[in-house]
């Protein structure tokens, strides 16, 4: 039986601030919760569809590009919000061209998309392979974990 809440984290752990998703997933794994499943999908957005069946809520965790905000700013919003910034994996081509957005659009067409899709993202300064994540982004990892846990609690109680 699936957990009703799915947290899907994206990112390359070896590529600068793009490590945000994997770091958050790792920290969430340490706080095991029966009603929340955490998957770290790395650089493979196309895998998301396999995990979506029978979920009531999804939280996407990724790094974002946003000129209006300083690197390390934590963003929380509805995934389909009109003002959502571009994510590192919005334009992913490494999985035959299926991005997170394309996966979720397809899921919507098929009636597989959970009613709630939340985005928790950090504004990235660089996704350069071989660079460690910046201090500003690392500091946001425990903050994001707390906020995601609060959000999941709220969803469970709703």
């Amino acid at each position: 039986m699936h957990s009703p809440i799915l947290i899907a984290a994206y990112g390359n752990a070896l590529a600068g601030d793009d490590a945000f998703g994997p770091l958050v997933a790792e920290a969430l794994h340490a706080q095991a919760c029966a009603e929340v499943e955490v998957v770290s999908l790395g650089m493979r957005p196309a895998a998301l569809l396999d995990h979506l069946a029978d979920r009531s809520a999804l939280c996407v965790v990724d790094a974002a590009w946003c000129d209006q905000q300083p690197a390390g700013t934590l963003l929380e919003m509805d995934f389909f919000a009109a003002d959502r910034p571009e994510l590192v994996y919005d334009r992913a081509l490494s999985t035959h061209g299926l991005s997170v957005l394309a996966e979720l659009q397809l899921a919507r067409q098929l009636g597989l998309c959970p009613p709630q899709v939340r985005l928790v993202a950090v504004v990235a300064a660089t996704a350069q392979v071989g660079c460690p994540p910046s201090a500003a982004v690392r500091q946001q990892v425990p903050v994001a974990v707390r906020r995601i846990a609060d959000w999941a609690r709220h969803v469970r109680c709703a």
Binding site: L49, S94, A102, L106, Q109
Partner: protein, 446 residues
């Protein structure tokens, strides 16, 4: 992204596809025609080379399957299997691999074929045949079809996770076998889902055969594939073609010739002293159809009747159906194996390093993927050579496009571009796998 220019309708016409969509990796197409004649045709692969063969040198042989798996996120098993078998030959244990380990390797490969074939057939290529821009728009009209295909695709991923730990870049594979054998109870559970998916896939195959109109483009290909004596090809067998190629695995690297071309970061491959050839599902099916398991074999005459062509098929647009039949075969093989699965006595063969050389190819979803490694006495890699399937198909793709070109002279611009892209997608090209054109011939400086 594409563009098209004409100097005059009857004179010079150029088609430029700057970034091929719905393929893995980055490539472009430039086609210039004068009247019905092709003046210039280049399938340009501009994705940067990745130097895997160079940085394998100096690594311990045990690291190779985990490194080569990173060549591709869609077909990592092909790179793991090719490197394992080649290194087992180099280490002198190839003939000692237990039958139970060979069986598990085939099951693992089934997972990769199922996952990769379904992704290509239903999410990337079917929109071309049904006249949609993408799987997303196709899903609005064919939602049930896409959902059924996603269920089968997921079964492939589950199979990869069961046998080798995870679906992308599996971690359970090692030279000599597997770090750990799958759990029997989990295997039994998955076998039930695979049976359900097998029934689904038989119906989906008939849908693809009966409801789709396949463009006509017949060519006299040289089909190259593994040809084992008693089973449909995956991991073992001599390498043969319909035009006389018949070599041991180790000889393949000398039987073909790789050439650099100025417009591509990937090399082009040719049968030595002959010409381009085709690897992949169509080649495998044409050379090995008599070895399909019963459910796929039963479908073959129905599919042939639906498309009005008996095997061998010489139209690569029909590779969609070859993939579908192979998926049926893979589901049946995996379901049969897992339903009677007993964990093997040992999951891997112990290896004592020695100096040696080994070459081996296995059948990646896109075709033959061949590896050769030379090791020194402590098992350090001295040299590596990897020939991915897409590299082997580039020259044939360009030849197909030359054949197609006269058919699109009078076709409206947008449709002409789309038909070229459609033809390229027939091959399910994995461009990222193929880019490694720079051969570093000198390893020491000074």
């Amino acid at each position: 992204m594409s563009g098209l220019t004409r100097e005059s309708k009857s004179q010079r016409r150029s088609i430029h596809v700057k970034a091929l969509a719905r393929v893995e990796g980055e490539g472009a197409l430039n086609l210039t025609m004068r009247g019905r004649e092709v003046e210039e045709l280049e399938l340009k692969i501009y994705e940067p080379p990745r130097f895997f063969e160079a940085f394998l040198r100096g690594r311990d042989f045990r690291e190779v399957p985990d490194i080569t798996a990173r060549i591709c996120g869609i077909c990592p098993v092909a790179y793991q299997m090719g490197s394992c078998y080649a290194l087992e030959k180099a280490m002198g244990v190839f003939d000692q691999i237990d039958p139970a380990i060979q069986t598990l390797r085939n099951v693992l490969y089934c997972g990769e074929w199922i996952e990769s074939h379904l992704l290509h057939m239903f999410l990337l290529h079917l929109p071309d045949f049904l006249g949609f821009e993408s799987a997303i728009s196709m899903a609005a009209d064919h939602g049930a079809l896409v959902k059924r295909s996603l269920r089968v695709k997921k079964a492939g991923n589950d199979l990869l996770m069961l046998v080798a730990g995870r679906a992308v870049h599996p971690v359970g594979v090692c030279v000599g076998g597997f770090y750990r054998a799958p759990d029997a109870a989990a295997a039994t559970r998955l076998a039930r889902e695979l049976r359900t998916c097998l029934d689904e896939m038989c119906e989906l195959t008939l849908f693809l055969a009966e409801k789709i109109e396949y463009p006509a483009l017949e060519r006299d290909y040289e089909f190259v594939a593994l040809c084992p004596d008693n089973e449909y090809p995956m991991n073992l067998g001599r390498i043969r073609s319909n035009k006389g190629l018949n070599v041991d695995q180790e000889e393949f690297g000398r039987a073909i010739e790789e050439r650099q071309v100025s417009h591509s970061t990937s090399m082009h491959a040719f049968v030595r002293d002959r010409g381009p050839y085709l690897v992949g599902p169509l080649a495998r099916l044409n050379l090995n159809a008599d070895k399909l398991l019963p459910r796929a074999a039963e479908l073959v005459p129905k599919v042939c009747q639906a498309v009005g062509k008996s095997l061998p098929w010489r139209n690569n647009f029909l590779s969609l159906l070859a993939r579908s039949l192979e998926t049926v075969h893979a589901l049946e093989l995996a379901a049969d194996t897992l339903s009677k699965y007993v964990p093997p006595v040992r999951s891997r063969v112990p290896i004592v390093p020695r100096a040696g050389i080994g070459g081996h190819g296995t059948e990646a979803p896109r075709g033959l993927c061949w590896h050769e490694y030379r090791c020194d006495a402590d098992g350090t890699i001295v040299s590596a050579r990897i020939i991915p399937p897409t590299t082997q198909n580039y020259a044939t793709i360009e030849a197909d496009l030359r054949e197609l070109a006269p058919q699109i002279v009078d076709v409206p611009d947008e449709d002409a571009t789309l038909r070229c892209e459609h033809l390229i997608r027939n091959y399910d090209p994995c461009i990222s796998c193929s880019v490694h054109f720079l051969k570093l011939s000198r390893s020491q400086v000074g």
